[in-house]
Symmetry: C2
Subunit: 391 residues, 2 copies
């Protein structure tokens, strides 16, 4: 409750600077009302902000230490509300002090004899709204002739009247607020679009993977299961190394596991769906699928990491895998993760040439081959998931 003089010019500077880099409209509005309440020492401050979706206005409130209560239900104000209507009319002659309206001035206007009855009625309704909001000063925020919002201020905590300097501060602040919120909204919209576009990319990839998987009669649901398990393994490994298993890695792994068998599109249906034992030649043809996958995705620079995950998902830790016979740490981690998930799903699925294993047996088998076929780090993560009952 200090009586210090406030340098409003400096406060405005600080507020404006902080505002511009806050890109969440809700955070921004809370920040602004809090600034007012603390700097100007009012009982409460609130902002009525335009909602583009339905044209109504939504209220955000911040209370000072002596704050009075605003009815809790009042969070949405219709565009027909007299207060909104009054500012929308923009009847210049009605407004005082750069469009600010003050309760006392408005009331004295309603009591003048020469005020028109119709105007008196409107002013009466506006005063009633201000009473409901417990507000003594209202400052409109305009954006290109549209009423973007209204700043509603309670009384000063010390009971005095607002001085000219304080009103100027509110007017300047309201103007900054408009721009800052508008900026934040644009920013949020762009982020929303980016997320949508990412979802579009992922969903399209899932659809293609599913369509290609449908060609292979024995692998129904395989892609989804391998993808889920790969991501689960990576999240598990992230506990040990947050830097290595970061968001970029997880995104790359997501795409790589969805598309690990994409190369099967280049292998004839006769071989893919053959019942009975494959000839050496047919087996060799099937072993080409990682490289066919690479050839399909090669033009997509952004998928560089995922492509390596696809290329090497049939390598083995001891160097006995294909296509290149890479060993140990030369095999990209992304490929080692897909390898474990792929093998686990193959073991626990029925294939034409053998029955499926129970999960316990499959985990045991992968643990046994840790360091031979499988990367020990990843095999260990699978064992842990199993122990936690998350397989």
């Amino acid at each position: 409750m200090g009586l210090m003089r406030i340098d409003y010019k400096k406060e405005l500077e600080t507020a404006a600077k902080r505002m511009i880099l806050v890109h969440d409209p809700d955070v921004l509005i809370k920040m602004i009302v809090r600034t007012i309440v603390h700097k100007v020492q009012v009982t409460h401050a609130s902002i009525l902000l335009h909602r583009p979706d339905d044209g109504s206005y939504r209220l955000t409130v911040s209370r000072g230490s002596l704050g009075l209560k605003i009815p809790i239900g009042l969070v949405r104000v219709e565009k027909e509300n007299p207060l909104i209507y009054f500012f929308k009319q923009r009847n210049e002659q009605l407004l005082f002090n750069d469009r600010v309206i003050m309760y006392d001035q408005l009331r004295s206007l309603t009591r003048r004899k020469n005020t028109e009855p119709k105007l008196k009625e409107l002013l009466g309704q506006v005063l009633h709204q201000m009473e409901l909001f417990d507000s003594v000063v209202c400052v409109p925020s305009m954006f290109r002739d549209e009423l973007f919002g209204i700043l509603l201020l309670g009384q000063k905590s010390n009971g005095r009247l607002f001085c000219r300097e304080e009103l100027d501060f509110f007017i300047a602040l309201a103007s900054h607020v408009t721009m800052a919120i508008r900026n934040a909204q644009l920013f949020k919209e762009l982020e929303r679009q980016l997320d949508k576009k990412h979802q579009l990319f992922i969903r399209t990839t899932i659809a293609f993977a599913a369509a290609i998987e449908a060609k292979d009669h024995y692998t129904h649901g395989h892609t989804t299961r391998v993808t889920n398990l790969s991501l689960e393994l990576a999240r598990r490994l992230k506990r040990q190394d947050r830097r290595l298993f970061n968001d970029k890695f997880l995104e790359g792994l997501h795409v790589a596991s969805l598309l690990h068998d994409i190369g099967k599109i280049g292998i004839s249906e006769a071989i893919l769906n053959k019942e009975g034992v494959l000839s050496d030649e047919e087996r060799a043809r099937i072993r080409e699928h990682p490289l066919i996958g690479v050839a399909i995705l090669k033009p997509i620079n952004e998928l560089e990491d995922s492509i390596l995950g696809i290329k090497y998902h049939h390598e083995r830790h001891d160097g006995s895998g294909y296509p290149e016979g890479l060993k140990g740490d030369d095999i990209p981690l992304m490929a080692s993760i897909i390898s474990v998930a792929d093998s686990f799903d193959a073991m626990t699925s029925t294939r034409p040439y053998r029955p499926c294993l129970y999960k316990d047996h499959a985990v045991e088998e992968i643990r046994r081959l840790s360091g031979q076929q499988f990367n020990p780090l990843v095999a260990g993560a699978l064992v842990e998931l199993h122990q936690e009952g998350r397989l």
Copy 2:
């Protein structure tokens, strides 16, 4: 050259408000230097702005009507430049007036007896830089302890010294500038990411379409040609109706034409690559490809429009097509465009059962079937493209 008093507070307000919604950093910087030159009437104003890529600073200049020339080669300033070094040191005791440096004050400091020789040397170098830039006042812009930029000001056009109010204006402006440019950069970065993500989606779609096309031995390059011609037709039609053939339509058409034959993945290779005449049953199976395509893409809500383009690209204007026998305007325009492009490419390609037509003949055939097989609007656009030699 008026001698009107300038309301700097108001100018700052206006500038800050305009700045926040300009999201192209280059436009923003030009706007700011122009504002200074015109409002404060200086011979020239420029901004040295930090480049995150290589740590150097880039110069943007605006000249007043009496502007002096700054050497044209000086557009890039290394981070080792004495002026940059001086502000980066942030040696508070050296700086006057809220970090602003003024040529005259700096020079008098170099002439004082008690100034250290080492400091004298640095100040001499800074003065030399200010002379090169023909600047009498420099105002730094800081962002979180980083030197974000420097505002360089020439002399006042009327030859007088800058007053306190003008310096304050520059300081406040420099502070706003930092935030506004930072905001613009973040915005641009987000737009760049959005564009990149779109490219990723399109490239992935192209890769999948190509992989699926490779299964059909007779259609090498077909997808690319149909896509290019579809887009060319739509751009042509846009001249007649900009609202209908807008960016959203073109984007949807792009995806639809890339994926118009995606359903062929569900048809067996034996039928697709059969040499000789197809049986009725085989033909019926091939005719299922639009609906198989729909089934594959159905989970992707965002592709709604494209899916309709794929579904109906074998409908005919007179109702004799498939899968639903839609007629005339009931057929989505996107599908009608793909139909013309698809037919034109089929006619001008060699197929196992017939030789290809010359382009002239194919166009003539499509013109002949306008209103029967083809939408007259689209057929007309093809004829026009042909007449202009753009086929």
